[in-house]
């Protein structure tokens, strides 16, 4: 399937995932204790994963899963 067709097929789903991810991070940061939560390693890992998800080169998913794996 050509990339343009894949973009048609998955645009809304990916848009939804990005919006949900942003909303989830806002939810945690805006809640009572949010300032502490943003320093939690799990929160920092999610932010790093979000940055990886939007980088230019591919291999994003493997990088994210490796980064989220315990040594």
């Amino acid at each position: 399937m050509p990339a343009s067709a894949l973009l048609d097929l998955y645009y809304l789903q990916i848009r939804s995932f990005l919006v949900e991810a942003a909303a989830g991070l806002d939810r945690i940061q805006n809640a009572p204790g949010g300032a502490e939560a943003v320093r939690d390693p799990r929160f920092q890992a999610l932010r790093a994963a979000a940055a990886t998800a939007t980088r230019e080169e591919t291999g994003r998913v493997e990088t994210i899963l490796n980064d989220l794996s315990v040594d």
């Binding site: 809304l12 848009r15 949900e20 806002d26 939810r27 805006n30 809640a31």
Partner: protein, 289 residues
């Protein structure tokens, strides 16, 4: 807890959905006139459709002890043809006195065109002329922000529109503030991919408060379902919101807004003033856990 589904297109849903809604506590639902998934071939097709939602659907709902109400209009997606739309608008008044018709809706914009705006304005005038409540659809995805601004600017500048009698639907985080600050009622739709998830809708309730807001499934012929409202109720419960605040959003607020039409029968368990007076402003302060 009793629940009101303030926006659902039951013409596209099965009788099993009425049964599921009834068993989930839905006592009333409201069905706006909308696009059927294809453009109607003639204005007369709308006459049949208006009859369907104002005569047949109430009987189907009643079998499950659900009060069915509806809104009448030509929807924005079919409003691009101005002459066609005006033929439909001409016979809308024939339906406004029917016992389950709450007002004019869901009017609005789809692609924010000049023609759509013309028909939107003409239907606002129709509602005002006949003393009707107004339900407004806002565009999907990338057209939403501009469309909301166009309609809110028009309504604010009109001079004769009471914002308390207008519900602007399909709000998300970037449009909620615009509409609420202008004094209108707001609706949030829960869809699987577009619009809101249950979690995001509850985020907005916590951010903007529980007054002048409703949550709906807008269930139709696409991916959607009446259980979406109940997923949102559960999301509020698991975040520790008080039962009385959940009731405000999912029962009392629809009663208060739609109850401005004397044909709407369900009565709120408490007034907006009572809800406001006990600290129900949304936000983390109202959580019990």
């Amino acid at each position: 807890m009793r629940v009101i589904e303030p926006h659902i297109h039951m013409v596209s849903r099965t009788t099993d959905d009425y049964a599921r809604m009834a068993r989930m506590g839905v006592v009333a639902c409201a069905e706006p006139a909308f696009w059927a998934g294809y453009d109607r071939l003639s204005p007369e097709a709308f006459r049949d459709y208006f009859h369907h939602i104002s005569a047949f659907e109430p009987t189907r709902a009643a079998q499950h002890l659900i009060d069915h109400y509806c809104w009448i209009c030509i929807n924005p997606k079919e409003a691009e043809d101005v002459a066609f739309s005006r033929e439909v608008i001409a016979f809308i008044p024939e339906f406004l006195d029917r016992p389950n018709v709450l007002g004019i809706g869901e009017i609005g914009l789809n692609k924010n065109t000049r023609n759509e705006m013309t028909i939107f304005e003409e239907q606002v005038e129709l509602a005002l002329k006949h003393g009707q409540l107004i339900l407004i659809h806002t565009p999907h995805l990338d057209d939403k922000l501009k469309g909301v601004r166009m309609m809110v600017d028009y309504l604010k500048g009109h001079g004769g529109v009471d914002p308390e009698r207008v519900l602007i639907d399909h709000m998300e985080e970037h449009t909620m503030g615009i509409v609420r600050e202008a004094g209108f009622w707001t609706g949030m739709t829960i869809y699987p991919v577009s619009k809101n998830s249950p979690a995001r809708a509850v985020d907005s309730l916590e951010r903007f408060g529980f007054d002048r807001v409703m949550v709906n499934s807008a269930g139709d012929w696409g991916p959607s379902g009446p259980e979406a409202v109940h997923h949102t109720i559960f999301e509020m419960r698991r975040r520790g919101h008080r039962p009385e605040d959940i009731e405000t959003v999912f029962y009392n607020n629809p009663c208060t807004f739609m109850g401005q039409c004397p044909k709407f029968k369900p009565q709120p368990t408490r007034s907006r003033e009572e809800a406001r007076g006990d600290g129900a402003r949304g936000g983390t302060r109202t959580r019990t856990a």
